[in-house]
Symmetry: C2
Subunit: 191 residues, 2 copies
């Protein structure tokens, strides 16, 4: 484990090139547990996780990636499902009759995705959080009309051209994103 | 630091009751660093962080909390701003001319919020991620028309009736949220 959460957070990076090496079952179990402990609006836990190892389904999901920059398919993908019973497609806020509004639903799906990716990093497993073109989901996933799969996380081990996307592992300095008490458009670079 | 990320993720909980004890500057700096390292759509890093300690502004933000269940105000709030230059209010997907669509923007704000909360937990600082009624934002924040503050994170130390909301620190078992290869509505409890 990293010495501190900050070390872990800074070490987490997106993998785009995976070897064929699979991820051991106990690691997948821990990674799912980390997703399970993610926070959500009013602890609604609206997510369902599908553990996908079937090569045809994985290929279909990679093809459905909204920004398709995979060079090699991950051996495992965790699809994060927002079942239609938990989601109100409309524009309301909050939770109405057990259904989350769009903001609440998307926040509550992003958080388990990040927990999954951070736990993977902690276990030495590479990961890639990606969003999908939901009109292209492979039928093998069993998704019903009205269900949503806003995000998925590929898991595996980097291989081949792993360094290709290193440019993504950088961040703007804090001086360009932190404001004291009051927002400054100038500091944000947009004044 | 927790022994593993999973231990940290399971230890993270929402605080609703804060004492007046303030959070040391070095801890706030680390917490902001953790937010800085969060992932975002195509590494767009659309967030800006406002560190709020002003009691009047904090009171206004707590009043604007969408689910207003604070019993005591946190001494520090990190407001996560999505500047209007980074966000397209419309329904498009992806990033168009530097502006994120709604899904991408909300994912990319939820992730630094969780990183901030996890780093706080790691440092022994209590936290509460909350969303806001954006029509009620206090003017002290300096938010411009068109900017958004989808989430904020209160930081401090639990005090008083800290145990009140312990029911929120539980999760459904994995057996009710994990599917192999294919989604099962029955397993999700909605079949």
């Amino acid at each position: 484990m990293a010495k501190s959460f900050l070390t872990l957070a800074a070490a987490r990076r997106t993998a785009y090139e995976f070897s064929s090496k699979t991820v051991p079952g106990p690691a997948i179990k821990k990674i799912l547990e980390a997703g399970r402990w993610a926070p959500s609006t009013l602890n609604s836990q609206p997510w369902q996780f599908i553990v996908v190892k079937n090569k045809k389904t994985i290929g279909g999901m990679v093809d459905a990636a909204y920004y398709g920059s995979f060079h090699g398919e991950p051996p495992v993908i965790i699809a994060i499902v927002l079942p239609r019973e938990k989601y109100c497609g409309g524009t309301h806020r909050g939770i109405v009759q057990g259904r989350l509004g769009a903001k609440e639903a998307l926040f509550s799906i992003a958080m388990p995705a990040l927990s999954i990716s951070l736990c993977a990093t902690d276990l030495g497993v590479s990961s890639c959080i990606f969003s999908l073109d939901e009109t292209l989901l492979p039928p093998g996933l069993g998704i019903r009309k009205g269900d949503s799969v806003p995000l998925a996380v590929g898991l595996g081990y980097e291989g081949g051209k792993a360094g290709d996307c290193k440019f993504l592992h950088s961040r703007k300095p804090l001086a360009k994103m932190v404001h004291n008490e009051k927002f400054s458009a100038k500091r944000a670079g947009s004044g």
